[in-house]
């Protein structure tokens, strides 16, 4: 039993390897080690198929690593922990529930809330109202998902990921299916939400501008089997502004990450050591 202590990082991924299809199957992740601090926003970027989503599933306890271990908030992850909120590229809202009902769904299944929901419904509903207002969906609570645009559905999906006050927010390419204008709007929405609720965030993305705009730190993964080959700290002040994305420093950072990804795509496993 490991105990939480203020000095240790919020999430520790230690020497994690993951094989698909048993110990002799495909190696998806190789010896990944990373630490994430409390309230930190970390973006994981890498070429497609590099195991970014695998890493996310391991951290949320949906899968267990073949080797190594994950500790979240002082607890060894050996099954799904409900301290996690997730959102994906696909908003995955239930089409028969209104937006408000969709947002409240996690409360009906997460262990620490399901027993309290009936008695404290008003309090929880107020929380949902607050979240929906924060992302600009206040007047759409009673609509069904198909009556909303893709960007609005993704906002609702974000609220659903946050309703149970998760300590860890896992976002798997949440804005990849949206057009560039909507996407940039949602960057600001997400940052705003993070500044209010201060969850620790792992953002998996292949959009390098998105990574630099949103993250405190960017981790670059190699092609399969995925390893972390570089790490960059983003120096820009918060809250970030759209003008920042036009600054030379921003472009330079994106360009550098782009070069690292190219390196990652063309390297054979094991060749490039930590470039940083």
């Amino acid at each position: 039993m490991t105990l939480p202590s203020p000095s240790r990082p919020f999430a520790e991924v230690s020497e994690v390897s993951m094989y698909y299809g048993g110990a002799h199957g495909t190696l998806a992740l190789e010896d990944v080690t990373m630490n994430i601090g409390h309230g930190e926003i970390v973006a994981v970027v890498g070429p497609s198929g590099c195991g970014k989503s695998t890493l996310m599933r391991l951290m949320s306890g949906l899968w267990l690593p073949t080797e190594g271990g994950v500790i979240i908030d002082g607890r060894e992850v050996d099954r799904p922990l409900s301290v996690v909120g997730m959102a994906f590229q696909n908003p995955t809202l239930l089409p028969w529930r209104t937006i408000l009902q969709n947002v409240m769904l996690p409360l009906e299944v997460a262990d620490e809330h399901r027993g309290r929901l009936r008695k404290h419904r008003a309090e929880y509903t107020a929380k949902a109202h607050e979240l929906l207002k924060l992302v600009g969906l206040a007047s759409f609570e009673d609509r069904l998902p198909h009556q909303l645009s893709g960007g609005m559905q993704q906002r609702a999906s974000l609220c659903r990921a946050l309703i149970h006050d998760p300590k860890l927010l896992m976002l798997d390419e949440p804005f990849a299916a949206l057009d560039i204008f909507t996407r940039e709007d949602l960057w600001a929405v997400l940052e705003n939400v993070c500044l209010v609720y201060k969850p620790t965030v792992v953002l998996v993305t292949h959009d390098l501008r998105e990574a630099v705009y949103l993250a405190d730190r960017v981790l670059v993964m190699s092609a399969r089997p995925g390893r972390i080959i570089a790490e960059r700290t983003v120096p820009f002040e918060r809250p970030r502004r759209r003008e920042d994305t036009l600054s030379p420093a921003f472009s330079a950072m994106v360009q550098e990450l782009r070069d690292l990804i190219d390196l990652a795509r063309h390297s054979v496993a094991g060749v490039p050591e930590h470039v940083s």
Binding site: P95, W96, P106, V109, H164
Partner: protein
């Protein structure tokens, strides 16, 4: 940043008024066109039935086909009026046996569908046997059922049940088994149990599949019960048709067929109405105007 926008052109008031008027006329024409189309849609099934019956009548009369080969619709109607009492009585029996078998199929089909859909193990284990059962021609089983239960309504109920349970099981199982993996992950990451996922996501999303299967199941349920009645029974519309054909009363056989068709359509309509009221979310976009 200085941005120059292209502003909308200013229209003179009379041009704007003229355009508004034109728009109004266009709108009215559009509404009328939609109404005409709606009327046609509701009338069309009836028109086609009437045309079909008229062609049938013409065909029989023109070729002078004998009554015991193919009776004209007018002959069938006369027979229906003459024999309306036994027709109604036996139709009632068939409707009852079919409904009982069908109701049992709904309950068992839902339970089995949920079990098969939520567990790969059960699915893999049970499915081959289920397919084997479904491949057996029901007509071959009826004599055995009669041996077990005697000449009464029970073989008809069982046949209706057996034949209609399969589409329900398969559809419900499919609906539950095809939950999007990400949807499942969102809930599982929160510590949701399999029963949570089935109740919150699986069953609601299986409902459109379930109602679609009911529409198939209700029609085949009639096939099942009437098949059983024709093999061995003392009542029911199938029994009536067998008796009629043994007396070469072909118009009465056709009268029985038509009554069966009407019952099938009526039950289908009931299933469709229930479907429309319970799973509106699944037919979005089809209810404009």
């Amino acid at each position: 940043m200085s941005v120059e926008l292209i502003l909308p052109r200013q229209q003179s008031p009379d041009v704007a008024a003229a355009r508004a008027k034109a728009r109004l006329i266009r709108d009215r024409q559009r509404v009328l066109a939609i109404r005409r189309r709606k009327r046609l849609e509701t009338a069309l099934p009836w028109l086609i039935i009437i045309a079909f019956v008229a062609l049938w009548e013409l065909f029989v009369r023109a070729l002078g086909i004998a009554e015991f080969v193919l009776p004209a619709p007018s002959t069938v109607v006369r027979s229906m009026i003459r024999w309306y009492e036994p027709l109604l009585l036996n139709a009632g029996v068939t409707l009852l046996t079919t409904s009982i078998g069908f109701a049992a199929a709904i309950v068992v089909g839902l339970v089995m569908g949920v079990a098969l859909g939520s567990s790969t193990l059960i699915y893999r284990g049970v499915y081959p046997l289920l397919i084997a059962f479904n491949s057996v021609p029901k007509v071959a089983v009826v004599p055995v059922l009669v041996l077990w239960f005697g000449v009464n309504s029970i073989p008809a109920i069982i046949t209706a049940f057996v034949i209609s349970v399969f589409p329900i099981v398969v559809n419900v199982a499919t609906g539950i088994a095809t939950i999007e993996p990400e949807q499942r992950d969102v809930l599982r990451a929160l510590g949701a149990r399999t029963t949570d996922i089935v109740m919150k996501v699986g069953l609601p999303r299986a409902m459109p599949y379930f109602f679609a299967s009911l529409k198939i199941a209700i029609t085949v349920a009639f096939v099942g019960s009437i098949t059983a009645e024709t093999v061995a029974s003392e009542s029911g519309i199938g029994h009536l048709m067998i008796v009629a054909s043994s007396r070469f009363d072909v118009p009465l056989v056709f009268a029985g067929l038509i009554v069966t068709g009407i019952m099938g359509v009526a039950m289908y309509a009931v299933a469709a109405v229930i479907e429309n009221h319970t799973t509106k979310w699944a037919t979005r976009g089809q209810d404009n105007f």
